[in-house]
Symmetry: C2
Subunit: 286 residues, 2 copies
């Protein structure tokens, strides 16, 4: 993998750990270092052979490539500090689900050119090093923001790594990313969390009622297993966009309820028929 020798993963969870697994498999000679505020996660990552060694932020002076894969509030705070420590040839990339704040946090940093803002659209509802899996990124989309602000040689280095991991690239500005991702990702998480909450609240005194739940419920509510540590800061950073999506979602639900109340089943049928179109849209997504 070209001149990359020492890779540092800051935040060894589902995404950071999965990246570590892929780059190590593709180039076993790399040294993979892990940095994490959670000592238990670090030990777990060592015993799972996801990382070779533990490290600290100061060690980043030796880094060729830094993957910043912490929750997005921590990432925004750490990124400027990381850029202060690294050398001029180091590539630093984040993988967070929000892009505006992190780009903003380093827009005037003297080492802005060492940073690449990315969002690999991949994951599961699980978290921590144990959740890391090989080939998570195969055929997945990687959204890259403000690529023009990254040094050309580092762009090349990053794209080579992404291509080896099997990703296809999309380019977008941070504001557009945050606006659209609110619809196709953040809203789904809220919809699942609130569905889970509604059903748990209602059925908490009913024994065995979840025996009645089938695979449809499980699928719809799956994202409610996601990590609140990761998702609270995402909702915070993308608050305005998320509120907009919620307004529209709530309006559609209220309209559906009104149609039920008015026995307007023709409209209910028509709306569902049109929404069936999601079949074609989702073709190719797991």
């Amino acid at each position: 993998m070209m001149s990359v020798k020492n890779i540092y993963i800051v935040g060894i969870g589902l995404i950071g750990g999965s990246i570590a697994k892929d780059v190590k498999r593709l180039n076993p000679n790399l040294n993979i270092f892990g940095i994490d505020s959670n000592a238990g996660h670090l030990e777990e990552a060592i015993s799972l052979k996801i990382i070779d060694k533990m490290a600290t932020l100061e060690d980043l002076a030796q880094a060729d490539f830094v993957v910043l894969s912490t929750p997005v509030d921590v990432a925004v705070k750490l990124l400027p500090e990381i850029l202060d420590i690294i050398n001029d040839e180091t590539l630093v990339m984040d993988v967070g689900s929000t892009k505006r704040d992190i780009c903003k946090a380093v827009e005037d940093h003297t080492k802005r050119r060492n940073f690449l803002a990315t969002h690999p659209i991949a994951g599961t509802e699980f978290s921590g090093p144990k959740a890391a899996i090989e080939n998570l990124f195969q055929k997945k989309t990687n959204i890259i923001c403000e690529i023009e602000k990254t040094a050309f040689k580092l762009q090349e280095k990053a794209l080579t790594i992404f291509r080896i991991m099997g990703m296809r690239m999309r380019y977008m500005n941070p504001e557009a990313h945050d606006k659209h991702i609110a619809y196709v990702s953040h809203l789904s998480h809220i919809s699942a969390f609130m569905l889970g909450k509604t059903v748990i609240e209602k059925e908490k005194n009913e024994r065995d009622i979840f025996d009645m739940a089938g695979s449809g419920f499980a699928s719809t509510v799956r994202l409610a297993k996601s990590s609140p540590e990761m998702w609270t800061p995402i909702f915070k950073q993308n608050k305005e966009n998320v509120i907009e999506t919620l307004d529209e979602y709530i309006s559609n639900l209220i309209r559906f309820k009104d149609q039920l109340n008015q026995d307007d089943f023709d409209t209910i049928f028509k709306d569902m028929k049109e929404t069936n179109h999601i079949k074609d849209i989702l073709k190719g997504i797991a």
Copy 2:
């Protein structure tokens, strides 16, 4: 399969077709007849070898076992007519997602004892004979309502068939079934349909935005691929319960939005953390 020889499937779709496949595999000597208002589906079911022969309602006089697997509005209308035609030894069961109206429709029928109200909690988002799959019911729950109203010998026959198919039985009255299933099934479908509608409406003029959608969105919105022909009558029959679940779901979404507006991220975090409990609840559901 005891004295069962001629099985009639009324409504050859995902559920009816999957039952046909299972009983035929478990007993190849059975004659499986298909009745469907959709001639195309009948031909498809023949060519897929799901049924042996087409039939009409009048033929049900020769039936040992009738599976009524049409949309629930059709089922409520057909069931009394079917009971009028069958002989005294015939077992008729429905498999619909609502149980109050169908039980009500035949409560005073002279052949009420020939009918068993069931709801196998199994399915996919697809429909029609092509959607039928073997072993769909393995390890799934089958909710049986008013079993005491079915003749004991026919109960035994039905339970034998269900056990061979791998199902576990739960007994419930129709009203309780409809109330709880609104939470663990019907609400999920509305949540998915409205999520799909919201995102499609917003992004209809944006090219390629669904490239940004990952497996999380696909999972949450999966049920929006479901058949409006099947689901509109379910929502109609279970209107009161569904409205209640929608009220609570909408309230939770509005509360979440208010918390976002008020920057009350502590409560958002806490609510999500509590809802994570869905992990344990869903253990064992696909």
